[in-house]
Amino acid sequence: MAYNQFDVSNQKWSMSTGAQTTIGGKAAANVVVKVLEASFSFDGSTSTATPAQCEFDQCTYATNAPGSANTTSATPAKSDTGRGETIQSTWAIKWTSQPTNITLQWPIAVAQYNGIYHYIHPFVSPFICIGGQGVAVTVNPSASVNFSGKVHAEE
């Protein structure tokens, strides 16, 4: 299996304040995941709201792994819908209790009022998530707002 690309999306998640993992995935044993893109956007209508702190993280998922009771499980959508190979990593969205243990990979502050940020990893330096480990997209809004975003990855 190679070059099996897919998206995991979280559309219009009604978020309150506080750090919450919006999208996360755990690689299956012995199957690496190459993360190629991550995007964040907000539909806030109050221009005075300070930006949301957004993070792309590594996560071991010692607790609250994708699919557990404090998450909403998500099915990865393959970019090539004709392929039969199953995506081996497990993904989820909307964590109601934060997973552990998170290590920050990179942060960015994104405006909640019409804010959008789409990071496409350079072809030469994708983020590599080894088998059994995980990635997480974490958002900390300054006020209640809806989040939409995605992770694009490859196995």
């Binding site: 219009k12 009604s14 699919g67 557990s68 009771a69 393959k78 039969g84 081996q88 497990t90 809806n146």
Partner: protein, 157 residues
């Protein structure tokens, strides 16, 4: 392998009971009347309705009706137990029947694979075993059958 089916069923019911409590509390995000910052219904079971945050979207089940699977990472399988096993099997069987009626040349890779894999599944002694390497396909079939699943570790934490 012999399993304490009643024990797993009790653990699954405990998770659903937890969600049922959240659904009874305004502001939990799961209550029928919960809304987003723009006043649109936002609970999983209401967001697709007129007045919801995603009208016309695919309906989602109540979280208190979710299927609960147990992940055995050592053996790389998910298992459903008791009523969940029967319900998951019936949903997947129903899904299989709908896929069988469609022309092969219009099926996606996932649907073609499920056409081959689903007939191999069976409930034995109250247990439905799903191989981890097709789990995302099974999840997809459950989603389009308007069901959902969460999973817990095989061993109680």
């Amino acid at each position: 392998m012999d399993f304490d089916v009643a024990g797993f069923v009790a653990r699954a019911d405990k998770v659903r009971a937890h969600f049922a409590v959240l659904e009874s509390v305004r502001g939990s995000g799961l209550h029928d009347a919960d809304t987003d910052v723009h006043g649109k219904l936002c609970a999983p079971q209401t967001q697709h309705l007129p007045g919801g945050m995603m009208p016309g979207a695919y309906p989602e089940p109540r979280r208190s009706e979710v299927l609960v699977a147990f992940l055995d990472e050592k053996r790389r399988v998910y298992r459903f137990f008791g009523p969940d096993a029967d319900r998951a099997f019936n949903l997947l069987d129903g899904y299989l029947e709908t896929v069988k009626k469609r022309p092969l040349n219009q099926l996606t890779g996932v649907e073609l694979k499920l056409l081959q894999e689903l007939p191999e599944l069976d409930v034995a002694n109250g247990v439905l075993v799903v191989w981890q390497d097709i789990w995302n396909d099974i999840l997809y079939a459950l989603y389009v059958s308007v069901a959902s699943a969460v999973w817990l570790p095989h061993e109680e934490e």
